[in-house]
Each structure stands twice: as structure tokens, then as C-alpha cells.
């Protein structure tokens, strides 16, 4: 009997004990690991969200590894990186992992974790959270931004756009699928720091910071190199020859001619990268900064950027495509050969305002014309041949219809049924607050979390 009473007392004590301490406003303190066995929400989730008030908690852990995928050393390294980059960029950086999303989407988990645990800097709670879900069959991550980083509510210089989201997610993906979680997160934190400082995730050395951009005044840099090889595509002698040719063209035709080899677009988008390189590099002649920049990317793609007064043919999409195609074909024999071909074609464009066609285009045109000519040939021959034969059996008697004799005495339209045919034709998707797809990531701009806060974000499965 005594033993039975002791068991009851122990059970009563266990029932009364909470799994985690609770703050005065109802939000839980993040000290208990894992989800509560009897709850369908994670342990940090407020019991009552109806009266939730936003708060900031500088002491909340910036790395919450509930899925236990980091070692202690890795967690410390991530924390150190976060400390450095958030101080550098002036926005909160948080990483959370979990072995379940508790029935929520990755986006909802990330948003709610950030909102209900007091993250963010300043009154707008500026910050970014990376949620890594390790749930079997539901593995993936979601990045959510808040405050000045959210393009839905801010027009500041540092925004989590689709381009930025894809660049950050692309870099993280390889780490995630290969199980190098800590390494990937540290790299991600570094990229986020760069993005917070420069406005782009992988800013090149020449790129100004956000503060510098705010006070930047455009000026021509007469000493800027016309061949800038950041991808190691040209040998020294090749670069010198190209430099001389570009200079000759610039001097002769009064338009800056620049070639830049880059490994990638630094997560800015190729057009934005080319524009930034041209403008921040101080290129362009005269007051309208006339110039033509060819960017040769490491993936083999090329982009032509022009400003000011340039031959009109270079404003024609097809002509530019042809120019790039022909120089791209020549680049198969080496980047320098491609650049030489480009400068040669550009000279013709500057001289004659036209880009000649490749011999392949001419041959294709001739073949198409020859084949097309068969049609009038066959029609004319058939028509001439038909005119030689005027003997034909009469098929109808239309010419002998008595005028006004045709009568419809009665008519009746009998419905016999319906047949339908369905052709699959998917509608193009457009980005919306509910989410859209861009690149390899799912991007969501300007959605509202359960707490009522606005977030934007992106994520992928792995």
C-alpha cells in the first residue's frame, strides 16, 4: 500500500513539471530539446498566439540545432561566423535545425521560429533565419527575411530578391546534398554577410559597399584597363594584343570598347553585373559614357552591354545575338580567339552599322529559298499543265438552277450530344505573395506569418 502511494505521488509530480520554462508573456524559453511528445507544435511555440506581442531577445541562441546535425565545435564556428557577419551587416542572422516541421511548411516553421523567439535587430526586427528540416521525406531548407531585408515592405539597398535567393540557395545546395551541413551553413553565413554589406551575395573586389553606393558619383576613369580578365581566360600576350585592338577601335570610332572575363555574375544577374562593372569601373566616353562592354562568363555565356551613342545595329536583339553567336563559336578554339572575332565583328558594326552573317546562315538561307522555290515551281507547272487539258466531265448543274427556286419548306435542328477534346496546355506561373518558382528555389515574396508579420523567403528540398 505504501509503495502504491509513492508511485501516485511520483506521477503527480511528473505531471506538474513543465518541460521548459515560460517567459512572463507566455513565450517559452529555448532550453528544452526536441518536441513535446504530447503536442503537435514544437516546444518553443506559444501556447496562446492570440495575444502575442513581438519582442526582441538578444540572448536567444543564434544557432538552435534541434536536429543535432552539428558538433559542438561546428556550432561554435557557426556562432562565431554569425557574430562577425551580423555585426558587419547590421542584421540578425539565425540558424535553426529540426528533425520535424510539426506539420507546418518549412516557410511557416522558419517564420514562426523567428517571430515567436524574439529575433531581429531594431524596431523592424531586421534579420534572416535559415531553417534546415531533417524530417525523413521532407528534408529541405527555408530562408526567411524580415524588416529592411524584405522587398515586400522595404525599398532599401539590401533586399532578398529572387536573384539573391537563387544565388544563396545555389551555393548552399551542394553542401546540403553532400551532408556537409556545418560547412555549408558557415559559407551561407559568409555570403549573407557579403550581401548585407554590398547588396549582392558574392560581391567582386571592385564592387562598392552599400554605404559607398549611396554616395557614389559617376566619373570616367581614363586609365581603366579595356581588357579585364578576372577569370584567367587570356594569356598575358593575348590580353596585350586585345588591349591594343580595343584601344584602336575606341580611338577610331569614339566609343569605349571593353572586354571583361568574369567567373560568374556574383549572384547579381548578368545584366546587373555588366552594368555595375561598366559604371563602377568608370568606363564610357564623353558625357553620355558611350561604350560597348563584352562580358565573357566562366560558364561560356556572353553578354553585350552598351551605353550612350553606339551603332543602332547593336540595339537590335537579333544582330547582337548573331554577334555573340559568331564570337562564341570562335571561342571554342580559345577565349582569345573568341575575343578577337568579337573585336573584328565589332569593327564592322562600328564601320558599316551591320554585322555580317556567318557562312552557315547564308547556306541555310539559300537552302531554304531553294526549297521554298519548289512551291511556285510546282504550282506554275501544274497550272500550265492543267490549261492544256480543257476536257472535263461536268460535276454539277449549278449554272442551271432556276433563280428563286430554292426553298426550305421546313427545318429542324436535332441535338444529338456533346463531345469534348482536352489538350494539355499549362498556364505560365507568375510570382505572387503565395509563392512562385524561380531557378531551383521556391520563392515567396511578401507573405504574412501566423503572428501577422511580413516575410519573404525561399527554400529547396534536398
Amino acid at each position: 500500500m505504501k509503495k502504491k502511494v509513492l508511485w501516485i505521488a511520483l506521477l503527480a509530480l511528473l505531471t506538474l513539471l513543465p518541460f521548459g520554462s515560460v517567459k512572463a508573456d507566455g513565450a517559452p524559453l529555448l532550453i528544452a530539446p526536441g518536441p513535446a511528445a504530447e503536442s503537435d507544435k514544437p516546444f518553443w511555440y506559444p501556447q496562446d498566439t492570440s495575444n502575442f506581442q513581438f519582442f526582441t531577445d538578444a540572448t536567444a541562441p543564434r544557432v538552435a540545432d534541434y536536429a543535432d546535425i552539428f558538433t559542438d565545435e561546428e556550432e561554435a564556428a557557426i556562432l562565431q561566423a554569425i557574430g562577425t557577419q551580423s555585426a558587419r551587416g547590421g542584421a540578425d542572422i539565425v540558424v535553426v535545425t529540426d528533425s520535424s516541421s510539426y506539420g507546418m511548411s518549412h516557410r511557416e516553421y522558419a517564420d514562426d521560429f523567428y517571430d515567436y523567439n524574439g529575433y531581429g535587430f531594431g524596431k523592424d526586427r531586421d534579420g534572416i533565419v535559415l531553417f534546415i528540416c531533417m524530417e525523413a521525406g521532407n528534408r529541405g531548407w527555408w530562408t526567411s527575411v524580415t524588416g529592411r531585408l524584405d522587398p515586400a515592405v522595404s525599398s532599401g539597398p539590401v533586399l532578398y530578391t529572387e536573384t539573391v535567393a537563387n544565388a544563396l540557395d545555389d551555393a548552399l545546395y551542394d553542401y546540403m546534398v553532400s551532408g556537409r551541413y556545418a560547412e555549408g551553413v558557415i559559407d551561407w553565413v559568409g555570403n549573407v554577410g557579403t550581401w548585407l554589406v554590398y547588396g549582392v551575395p558574392f560581391a567582386p573586389l571592385w564592387y562598392p559597399t552599400v554605404e559607398e553606393q549611396a554616395v557614389w558619383v559617376r566619373e570616367r576613369n581614363a586609365s581603366a584597363a579595356r581588357i579585364v580578365d578576372n577569370a584567367g581566360l587570356f594569356a598575358g600576350s593575348e590580353a596585350s594584343a586585345l588591349q591594343q585592338k580595343a584601344k584602336d577601335l575606341s580611338d577610331t570610332y569614339g566609343v569605349d570598347v571593353v572586354i571583361h572575363a568574369a567567373k560568374n555574375d556574383c549572384g547579381m544577374g548578368k545584366n546587373a553585373y555588366a552594368q555595375a562593372f561598366y559604371q563602377y569601373g568608370g568606363y564610357g566616353l564623353y558625357s553620355d559614357y558611350s561604350g560597348i562592354l563584352l562580358v565573357m562568363f566562366g560558364d561560356g555565356s556572353q553578354l553585350l552591354y552598351t551605353e550612350g551613342e553606339v551603332p543602332s545595329c547593336l540595339n537590335d536583339y537579333e544582330t547582337v545575338e548573331r554577334l555573340l553567336d559568331m564570337s562564341g563559336e570562335a571561342a571554342a578554339g580559345g577565349a582569345a580567339k573568341g575575343a578577337e572575332k568579337y573585336l573584328s565583328l565589332l569593327e564592322k558594326a562600328l564601320k558599316n552599322n551591320r554585322i555580317p552573317h556567318s557562312s552557315g546562315s547564308w547556306i541555310m538561307g539559300i537552302v531554304m529559298a531553294a526549297l521554298g522555290g519548289l512551291i511556285p515551281g510546282a504550282i506554275s507547272r501544274g497550272s500550265a499543265s492543267a490549261s492544256m487539258k480543257t476536257v472535263r466531265t461536268a460535276f454539277n448543274s449549278n449554272d442551271y438552277l432556276v433563280d428563286g427556286s430554292f426553298r426550305v419548306n421546313s427545318g429542324n435542328d436535332v441535338y444529338v450530344g456533346v463531345t469534348t477534346s482536352r489538350v494539355y496546355s499549362p498556364q505560365s506561373k507568375s510570382s505572387s505573395s503565395e509563392g512562385g518558382s524561380s531557378g531551383g528555389s521556391t520563392y515567396s515574396g511578401g507573405h504574412t506569418s501566423s503572428s501577422g508579420s511580413s516575410h519573404s523567403g525561399s527554400g529547396r528540398k534536398f
Binding site: 529559298a369 442551271y400 426550305v408 436535332v414 441535338y415 456533346v418 482536352r422 494539355y424 498556364q427
Partner: protein, 357 residues
Amino acid sequence: MANNVSGRKCPNCGSALRYDPESSRLICDFCDSGFTIEEVDAADREQAQQVGSMNFTAGNEALQNLKAYVCSSCGAEVVADPQTVSLVCPYCGSNIVLSDKINGELCPDGIIPFAITPKALPQAVRNFYKGKKLLPRNFFSDASIGTVQGIYVPFWLYDSNPAGEMIFNGSKDRTYRDGDYVVTEHRNFELHRNVSMSFHDIPTDASERMEDALMDSLEPFDFSAMKAFNTDYLAGYVADRWDKNAKEMKARTDRRVYNSAVTIAMTNTTAGYSDVNLNHRSHLDMSNSTARFVLLPVYVFDIKWNNQAYSFAVNGQTGKVVGTLPEDKALKTRFFLKWWAIGAAVLMAVNWLLFLH
């Protein structure tokens, strides 16, 4: 056995008369006289009172289907097949009308006299050659036109009044989007149309000797110029009586009428429907039709070239020429290459202007 033969004689000199399409008169080429049909009738009546009407005796009946006639002018025996009702004596050139063959149901209900003279034929043929790009170059110089024969070809003219229920299948369509699918809905109907219409004077040749397609191709004839039959119009021409009766030829005419009836009914009664086609349960009563027998003027001749004969026919009323001309294979190839080169050059120019410039 006596066969009735009539040949019109010149009231002045007794020579044979021929019908002249240009002047619509009977002409004597011997004394260069010209008479209307009424004038010759009056002269004949006067002569009959004086010497009695002339009788012609039938000749040899040895051949089963051929009959021999004695020419009233020269006394020669002329053999004619059963279909021939008018011919020219090969000995003296007199016109002979075998009037015993054009009695009763064999008597035409009308005739369209020749309006085109044989003299006008070469020009008509030359016009026919015009624009024929594939005609061999030496066709004009080497070809020889054979004997031109003016023939009154027997035709049946049908009046047809088809009536009945035409049934068409048709649909009203609408297209809408259902998610990622484009759905086309066809609401199908049977369109029942009780129709009637009338066709007048559909010509169908009634001569076995004439190729049907060749005679069809001579249309149209102007039936307002139709005259009451008179043997005098036959003078100078060959004429045949029908050897395919009206009942026999009705099926061919009905096919033409049916095709027209379907087209006319479909065009006029199915507006608003798409994919319209004829339902096989349609029924059109074609029995309400009549036919009359007429003679229509046709010239026929062969052109011989390169050891081959090419048959031609000319509408004796309108001058329309029909026939199949020979094609020069080399010209045909050159013609094709010429237009192929022009087409290719135009396409290349367009290509250059739009894309390669």
C-alpha cells in the same frame, strides 16, 4: 424499201443549197444565190404543183444496220448508218436529209443553229492555243488540222425538280480553359432540311459516238437562241439522231443535280454550324423531271502532230474550243525551273532584306 430523203434545191439552178450560219439563209454556191427558208419552201410548193413531189428510192439493204439512199441530185447511192439523219453526198456535195429518221419521238423538239462558220474556226483555234505555255514550239508549223465536220449533236435537255429531306451533321463549338487544359466542346446536331429546287435545261449528250466529257466541256449553250426544228437548218451539216434514250441518260444528269442540290442546301441552310457534312440518311426525290430532245451545233476535228491525233470540239454557237493539247516535256521542265528560280530568288531577296541584311 423506199427511204424518205429530202435535199433542198436552188429555185434558180437546181443545185444543192447549204445553210449559212452568218446570214441564216440557204445559199447556192453554184449560182451564188441566197434564199430564206420560207422562200425555198414557196418555190418547192410551186415546183411540186408543176412536176409533183420527188420520190427517192431506197437502195441496198444488204448490210444489217446500214441503209443506202439515192442522192436526188446525182443519183449516186449513199450509205448512212442508223444514227445519221443528215449527210453530204460524197459525189456531188449535195445536202441530204434523211427525213424518215426524224419522225415521231426521233423528231427534235428544237435546234440551235450554227452561228460560227467554218471560216472562223482557225482563228478560234489560234485563240485556244494562246497562253498555252507547254505547247510544243513546232506544233503550229507541223500540225495539220484534219477535216472539220459540223455536226448537230443530239442532246437531252432535262428539267429537274429535286425535293426531299437533306440531313447534315454539324456542330457548335466553344473553347475554354480548365486549369492546365484547353477544352474544346463540340455540341453536335443533326440539321434536317426539307428542301426543293428547280433546274432548267441541263444538257446531256445523247449520242454514243460523242465522248461525254468532251460534250460537257462545250457548255454553256445559250438556249434562248433555240429554234423550232426545221430540216433546213441541217443543210450542209451532219446530224445524228439520239441513240441513248432519256431514261438511260437521266442517271448521269441526276448525279449532277444531286451534287448541286447538296451544295446549295448546305450553303444556304447551315449558317452558324461548323464541320458540316452530309448525313447518309438524306433522301432527295429526283423523279420529278422531264427531258426534251434537241440538236446542238458542234464542230469536231482532229489535229495531227507527231504521228498522233488530238481530238477537238468547238461549240458551234459560242466558238468555245475544247480538247487536250500535247505537252512538250522539255518546255515543262524549263517552265518549272523558271518559276522555281524566280520563287527562290524572291525568297532569297526577302530573306536577305529581313534577316541577312
